[in-house]
C-alpha cells in the first residue's frame, strides 16, 4: 500500500559504514605509524592512540611527545572532516561505498593551519580524541578537537584547525 521501502538490515548498513571508514583510515601510512585506531558509534568517531614506547617525548617524566599529541589531534580532525563528508554522501546515496577501495580513496582535506593548546603532559597510557566540525563551507572548514586520557572531563590537549576541502568526487 505504501511506497515506503523496508529499512535495510542493520548488518548491511553497519558493514557499509565500517568499510568506508576502513578504506578512509587504512590507506594512510602515517596513521599506521602512530598506531591510531577509530571507533565508530553511528556517525560519531573516537580516535584511539594506544600507548607505545616510541610515542614518548620526555623519557624522564615520562610523557608523550608534544608532536605526537599534535599529530594525533590533527589526524583526528582531518578524518572527522573527511568522514562527515563521506557520511553525508553515503546517506544521500550520492556515493556508493562499494566504489571505494585502495585505488579509489576519498580525497583528503589539506591543513591550512593548526593550533594546539597543551593543557597537561600526556601520560604514558592510551589517549582518546574526538573532533567537531564547527563550520564546513564549500571550500574551508574549521574543526575543533579535544584529547583526553583517563578522564573525559580532564583534557590534556585541544586544538583548532582550518582545512581546505577537496572536490567531493573520489579520486581515481
Amino acid at each position: 500500500m505504501s511506497g515506503r521501502q523496508r529499512p535495510e538490515p542493520v548488518q548491511i548498513i553497519k558493514e557499509r559504514r565500517d568499510k568506508a571508514l576502513r578504506v578512509l583510515v587504512g590507506g594512510i601510512p602515517y596513521i599506521r605509524f602512530l598506531g591510531i585506531q577509530f571507533d565508530r558509534r553511528g556517525d560519531e568517531l573516537t580516535a584511539i592512540l594506544p600507548f607505545d614506547e616510541k610515542l614518548i617525548g620526555n623519557p624522564f617524566l615520562p610523557a608523550l611527545h608534544g608532536g605526537v599529541t599534535s599529530a594525533f589531534l590533527e589526524i583526528t580532525a582531518m578524518i572527522e572532516l573527511s568522514w562527515s563528508g563521506l557520511w553525508e554522501e553515503m546517506e544521500t546515496g550520492t556515493l556508493d561505498p562499494r566504489a571505494l577501495d585502495e585505488a579509489h580513496l576519498p580525497r583528503l582535506p589539506k591543513t591550512i593551519d593548526f593550533t594546539v593548546d597543551y593543557l597537561r603532559s600526556g601520560l604514558p597510557r592510551d589517549a582518546y580524541a574526538r573532533a567537531r566540525v564547527n563550520r564546513s563551507g564549500r571550500r574551508y572548514a574549521s574543526v575543533h578537537v579535544e584529547a583526553w586520557q583517563d578522564n573525559r572531563a580532564r583534557l590534556f590537549a585541544q586544538a583548532t584547525g582550518h582545512f581546505l576541502i577537496p572536490g567531493r568526487e573520489p579520486r581515481g
Partner: protein, 145 residues
Amino acid sequence: MTDPSPAQRFIDAIPHAKALGLELIQIADGKAVMAMPYSEALIGDPATGVIAGGAVSALMDTCCGAAVMSYPGARGTATLDLRIDYMRAAKPGQRITARAECFHATRTVAFVRATAHDEDEGLPVATASGAFTMETSSGRPEAKS
C-alpha cells in the same frame, strides 16, 4: 656542531625523535636546526606521497623545544601552545629541515618561531610559532600535571 649541551643529549634520548629519524644539525644560544628524512611510513596522503602534516608538526615541536633548551640558563621545557601554518606540500622524497629560534624568554616562558623547508630553500613548507615553559636553575614553574 657546537657544545654537547643538555639539549643534544636530550634529543638523543627522545624515543619519538628516534622513531622519526630526526637529526640534530646545529644547536646553540636559543637556535636549533633539525632534519627529518623522507620515509614512506610518514606519508599522510597516499595518492601523492606527501608527508603527513602531523609529522612536520612533530619535527617543528622537537626543533622548537631544542631551541628553548639551548637558550642560556634553560634546564627544561614543555610546549604550552604551538601554531603551524602549512604553506605548501613538501616534495615527496625530500628531507625536511626545520630551523627554530627562541627569540625571547622570561624566567618562566619562552617564545619561539620556526620554519620548515624541503630541499627547495625558497618558500617554506610550513612556519610555526609557539610558547613553551621555561625551567631555569633559579626555579621551576608550576608543574603541568
